[in-house]
Symmetry: C2
Subunit: 373 residues, 2 copies
C-alpha cells in the first residue's frame, strides 16, 4: 500500500508497522478537498462554531461536510483526547482476582449502574484488575498507580490498601469508593444507608406486635455488618423493646450455627421474629430458613422472618422476605456521578443512598400465645 502517494507525506521510520492504516483521512485532507483550513474543519465538525459565537458560513460548512463525507473521515479519538487534555476514561478497580465471576457476586449489580451512568456521562470504562502487570507502566510496585491513566477511578472491595488510596487522594486524583469507608481521610464514597433501613425493618416488626426480635449476623466487623446491627438496635430502642446482648446472635462460627434446636429454644424464650443479615452468599438467611423450617415453625404464622438485604438470586422464586433492597445499580450510578463531579473539580465527599423498604410476605403478627411446652 503506497503510503506517500497522495499526501506526499512520507513518514519517518515506520518499518515494523503492524497495520498499514495510513489510508485514513485526516482533517487536513478534508480541508484540502474543501478548500479551507484544518482549523475550519475542526470547527465545523465539532459543531463548536455557533456555540461559541464563532460563525461559519453555511456555504463553508456544507463544503466541509461534503468533503468529510466523501472521504469517509472519522476522527481519531487518540488525537481528540490528547488535544482536549482529558481522555474520557473512568477507571474501575476491583480487588477481586477477575471480573466478579459469580453471578451472585454482589459487585455485579453495581457494575450495571456504573456502566449505565458512565455511558450517560460520555465516559468509557477502563477495567483494572488487581493483577495486571501492564509491562509499560513505570511503577510496577503497585498496580494501583496504573489507574492514573483514567481521569478518575472507582474502587470496589474492602481490600483496597488504605495507604495507596490515601496517596491517590492526596495527589488530587479523583477517587470514589463504592461502600462506606472511613480509612483514608478525605476519600469520597457512596454507600447504602443500612442503619435507617435496618431500623425501619425492626420498626415494622414492632408495629406488627413483636416484642422479642433476634438479629442473626455473621461474625465479621465490616461496616456493612456493624451498620446493620446499629440500625437494628436503634429500631429496638425506638420501639421500646429490650436491647441487650441477647438480641443479637453472631453466627457463622462452627459450633455456633443456627440449628433447629436453637430456634426452638429461642421460640420458647418468647422470640417471635428473626432478622438475618444479608451476606454475599446469603448463608445466614439460608441457615435461618432451614432451621426454622426444621423446627416445625411455619413462617408467617408461627414466626416472622426478615432479611436485611435482598435474597440470593436462586431463592427468587420463594415468597419475598420482609426487609429492604439495596439499590445497587443506583449506588453504582451515584458513584459515577460523584466521580464525574470530582473530575470537574467540584468538591464531593460522600453520599448515602436510601434503601427501599420491602414489605415481603414473611412477616405477620406474632402468634396469640407462644407455643407452650
Amino acid at each position: 500500500m503506497a503510503k506517500d502517494g497522495a499526501g506526499g507525506r512520507a513518514r519517518p521510520g515506520r518499518a515494523p508497522a503492524p497495520a498499514g492504516r495510513r489510508s485514513r483521512p485526516r482533517q487536513a485532507e478534508v480541508a484540502e478537498l474543501a478548500g479551507v483550513s484544518q482549523a475550519t474543519v475542526s470547527l465545523v465538525l465539532s459543531g463548536r462554531d455557533d456555540a461559541t459565537g464563532r460563525a461559519i458560513s453555511q456555504e463553508t460548512r456544507r463544503k466541509v461536510m461534503d468533503a468529510a463525507r466523501s472521504l469517509g473521515y472519522v476522527p481519531d479519538p487518540a488525537a481528540s483526547r490528547l488535544a482536549a487534555a482529558r481522555n474520557n476514561l473512568l477507571g474501575v478497580f476491583s480487588f477481586t482476582a477477575t471480573f466478579p465471576t459469580d453471578v451472585r457476586h454482589s459487585y455485579y449489580p453495581f457494575l450495571v449502574g456504573v456502566e449505565q451512568e458512565s455511558a450517560a456521562q460520555g465516559y468509557d470504562l477502563v477495567l483494572f484488575t488487581g493483577s495486571s502487570t501492564g509491562g509499560a507502566g513505570a511503577g510496577e510496585s503497585s498496580a494501583l498507580h496504573r489507574v492514573r491513566l483514567a481521569d478518575g477511578c472507582l474502587f470496589l472491595g474492602r481490600h483496597a490498601p488504605t495507604d495507596e488510596l490515601g496517596r491517590l487522594v492526596a495527589d488530587g486524583f479523583p477517587v470514589v469508593h463504592l461502600g462506606r469507608r472511613v480509612e483514608p481521610e478525605g476519600l469520597a464514597w457512596v454507600g447504602a444507608d443500612y442503619i435507617s433501613a435496618s431500623r425501619d425493618v425492626v420498626t415494622a416488626l414492632a408495629g406488627l406486635g413483636h416484642r422479642r426480635v433476634l438479629l442473626v449476623r455473621e461474625d465479621d466487623d465490616a461496616p456493612a455488618s456493624t451498620d446493620r446491627e446499629r440500625g437494628f438496635r436503634e429500631g429496638l430502642r425506638a420501639a421500646g423493646l429490650p436491647d441487650g446482648p441477647g438480641a443479637v446472635c453472631r453466627s457463622g462460627d462452627p459450633g455456633r450455627e443456627i440449628t433447629a434446636e436453637r430456634v426452638r429454644q429461642w421460640l420458647d424464650e418468647g422470640v417471635t421474629a428473626f432478622v438475618a443479615e444479608e451476606t454475599d452468599t446469603g448463608a445466614a438467611w439460608r441457615a435461618l430458613r432451614a432451621a426454622v423450617d426444621k423446627a416445625g415453625a411455619r413462617c408467617p404464622g408461627d414466626v416472622s422472618l426478615a432479611l436485611l438485604g435482598s435474597p440470593p438470586a436462586d431463592l427468587a422464586g420463594e415468597p419475598p422476605p420482609l426487609g429492604f433492597d439495596i439499590p445497587r445499580p443506583e449506588l453504582g450510578a451515584e458513584a459515577v456521578r460523584l466521580l464525574s463531579a470530582l473530575i470537574s473539580g467540584e468538591p464531593a465527599e460522600k453520599k448515602l443512598v436510601t434503601c427501599t423498604f420491602r414489605p415481603g410476605r414473611t412477616a405477620g403478627p406474632p402468634p396469640a400465645r407462644p407455643a407452650a411446652t
Copy 2:
C-alpha cells in the same frame, strides 16, 4: 468548553510547572526530577533501549525509574497511541444497551474469559458502551470510532452494523467479533462449533434408540440458530433418521407455543425425544419442560429431552439435561488471543471452538412402546 479552574488542565499558556493544581505527571517532569531528558525517560520506560541496541546506563535507568515511581507516573494512553505506538488497551464494544445486565445474559461468561486472558497478556480493558455521544463526527458513525483509542477491539452482539465494522477492518484496525459472522469481509471472529456439537447430541439420542426426534427452535435466523439446526439435521441423516420439515418446530410466535396438547400429539405420533435450542432467556427449554411436564410425561422414562446449550442459571439445581456446554470463558479468551495476534501484525481469520458434550440425566432409551391411545 468550560475551563473550570480546579479540574481543568493548564491552558495553552504553557505554564512550565503546574505549581498549583497537580496534574498527572508527564515524562517531562519525570525527566526533570531524574536530571535527564524526556527522551531518555521514554527510552527507559518503554524498555526499548537494550532491544534496539541502544544502551542506557544502569545508573540512569535507576534514576529514571525512581523518579517515575515517586511521581506515580503513568503513560497517557491517548498520547502513546497518537505517537504511533500502542497503549496496552483492548476495547470491548458491546451493543447491548448496558453491561449484560441480566445475570442470565449469555455475554457475561464471555467477559470473564476476556478479562482473564487480557490480564494474562498484559492488557487493560476499555469498555465502550453503545450509547455515548462522542462528538458529532463526520455525520455517520456516532460511537463506533471511539474504539480506535485502543490497540484493538472486541465486539459482542449481533447488532453490530456491518458497514461500520467493515470500515474498521478496511482501515486495518484489529477487530475480532465474538460469534460467527460472515458479513464484513475479512472480519476475524471466534465462535462455537454448534454444528458438530448439535450433531453429536442427535447421535447420542439415536444411539439410545430414538427414531423420532424433534427440534424446538425459535423463529430467528441468527447464525447461532441456523448452525444448530444444521447440525441437528446432519445428525439425523447420519443416523438414518427421517429428516423432513416435520423434524423441526419453530416456536416463539404467539399461537405457536409449545403446549401440553402439542407435546401429547407429538408423542402420539411417535416422537420419543425433544431437542431445544438454547436462547438467552432459555425460553424454549422452559416451555418444553413445562409442556412435557403438564402432558404427564416423565422425563427420562417416557420421553428424552436435550438442550443445545447450557441450562439457564436458575435451573442449576435441576438434573442437567443432555446437550453440550459452550465454553464461553474459553471463547472469550480465544478472542483475546486472536486480537492480540492481529495487533502484533500476525494474520488471523477465525476460530471455531469445540463445545463439550454433556451426557446429562434427561435422556434414556425410548419407552418400549409409545403409550397407545
